[in-house]
Symmetry: C2
Subunit: 345 residues, 2 copies
């Protein structure tokens, strides 16, 4: 009854063994399956603790069998201290007993699952045959987005822009040999021009306007990943006004997504409804679609399931002495009784 | 920049080294210090996921420097599967970066901190000179309550009752040699008779009436620990009606405590106000006081601080590869790049 622990090294080993694209595809499959049973889950907006420098969040979700939560931070200035902007870990537990079965790193995994979720949404929202994607923001999550869209959407060309040219250098280095055509651009407008899909994955905790209405072209799909907490947006409101907007979990996105800039009754569609065929996704070739992604707990649930199965299949991980094994569960005290007391007893 | 991990064995080693009573006293000191700067904390009611068999909760709290959360379950029937009713673990992190500094078991620690909180409250609510305590519910947490009240309140005699006589056998065995006078009683009423303090620490997830108004005596202090979630109470409403009632964090206790049975405007006092001298605690020798304890995140914050300091002082624990150390924090992908890709680059 011990807890399985997957360290950063363990998850990296899983990803190296299977490949980044295969992991994103596997998690995407789990996300699709879990989103199709949306109503089975006990959902809530995440619990966020904001400070001047960033945010720390807890993201729980559960169905009748399993409970999961993720701890995740977002601190845009962390790179100045050689720390990742986003760090995460999470737990999968049994609802029937509360026993934590799996504790895993989720920093690498968050990048995988965010790319997986973006791809799942784009599959029903982007124009079929999309080949060119603009990638605005070339930081920690960008390569995962690139490979997810290459393998799950068929993207062949990436048009790159980042305020930090070193970030783009790194991305170009990392994606050599993948077969993706990489085009460095001098501005956001240049990168977006002619793209079928625009992915924004920037980190600043500000109301930024990465994408303005003038940059939009007919039929574009916007995968807006970086605007994900109050006061942190990427899209000019005018972009949202002319687009069909899709979200993960409406109550959370109203507070955290780019739609925080819009009136409370601004119309949005939850992606699970599109996957389930209950609501239309893209209806016209000329339509502009926006996936206002903030990251929802259910995606981490899907990713934790993937890690659990992969760890089992590959024999990765170790057990952790996280909760006590007690001969008599009512005798917790027996676990700490000192020698002196034991002798006296 | 790694995370310190304290396993069950590590925390048990700390407790054996220092002694149960010293740990409870140490945590009580931290609780008192943290409650005295109540207004510095970003507080919220815990996030609970209820099922037919129990509850799983996340309990976050933070000040300007540190963030903590606890994962804890409550499953009264877990003992049938040889699992503890309550299992817990938690994290202490830096607010400035989101870096998780400490991950610790909190099952043993929850028992220690709950006893510490009960003692802190009783020190300002019980009649000075209280020597006799009834202990109703002799399960996993009972010995910790007993030792906390012996060492921090001066309790000399325990009057014991549990529906399960084997639980009482275990408690009597565990407390041999402590100097406490242990009196087994045939009923709750018998245990309560003549007691200065009544501690109820039962586990059933029902609206139970462990304590009824007929059992009350003038000047009693009731330390009601077991009624701690919606539908789980221990006190007959008549007990609350005649008592001065004290709580940890009012918004949470209104939903979870014994006062969930009372009107929304039923008067209560938060314990921190009494500690700070802003509101009176016990005013009359004849008064009946109730501490309607449900367990608040700040107590776990105080306990995690204690564990961190004790682990450092005693050299206990190991580091955990929970979040990635990256030469370039924007190069998360570098951590998972496969050999094939590296050769191609």
């Amino acid at each position: 009854m011990r807890t399985l622990f997957l360290s950063v090294a363990d998850v990296a080993a899983i990803v190296r063994e299977r490949g980044v694209a295969a992991c994103i595809a596997g998690i995407a499959g789990n996300i699709r399956a879990d989103f199709l049973r949306w109503e089975s889950f006990d959902k809530s907006a995440r619990l966020a603790a904001h400070s001047g420098l960033g945010v720390i969040e807890l993201m729980p979700v559960s169905d009748a069998q399993s409970y999961s939560f993720k701890y995740v931070n977002g601190h845009p200035r962390n790179h100045l201290q050689a720390l990742p902007t986003v760090m995460a870990f999470g737990v999968l537990a049994d609802v029937a007993t509360g026993m934590p079965r799996l504790l895993s790193e989720l920093t690498l995994t968050t990048a995988l699952r965010t790319a997986a979720m973006s791809a799942v949404a784009a599959q029903v929202l982007a124009r079929p045959g999309s080949k060119v994607m603009a990638l605005i923001g070339n930081g920690a999550q960008s390569e995962f987005q690139a490979l997810g869209f290459q393998h799950l959407l068929g993207i062949e060309e990436l048009r790159l822009y980042d305020v930090d040219p070193l970030a783009t250098d790194k991305l170009v280095r990392n994606l050599q040999g993948t077969g993706l055509r990489l085009v460095r651009c001098a501005s956001i407008a240049e990168a977006v021009r002619g793209a079928n899909i625009v992915t924004t994955v920037t980190a600043d905790k500000t109301n930024a306007t990465i994408l303005t209405p003038q940059m939009l072209e007919r039929g574009m799909h916007v995968n807006a990943v970086g605007g994900d907490c109050p006061g942190k947006t990427e899209l000019h409101p005018g972009v949202l006004e002319v687009a069909s907007v899709f979200v993960e979990y409406e109550p959370q996105t109203r507070a955290e997504g780019d739609i925080q800039q819009m009136p409370r009754d601004f119309p949005v569609t939850e992606v699970w409804q599109v996957l389930a065929g209950a609501r239309p996704g893209r209806q016209l070739d000329s339509e502009i679609t926006v996936f206002d992604s903030v990251g929802f707990a259910l995606e981490d649930f899907s990713a934790l399931r993937y890690l659990r199965d992969a760890a089992e299949a590959l024999g990765v991980g170790e057990t952790l002495d996280l909760v006590p094994e007690l001969p008599d569960p009512k005798d917790l005290f027996g676990r700490v009784k000192g020698r002196r007391l034991r002798l006296a007893a």
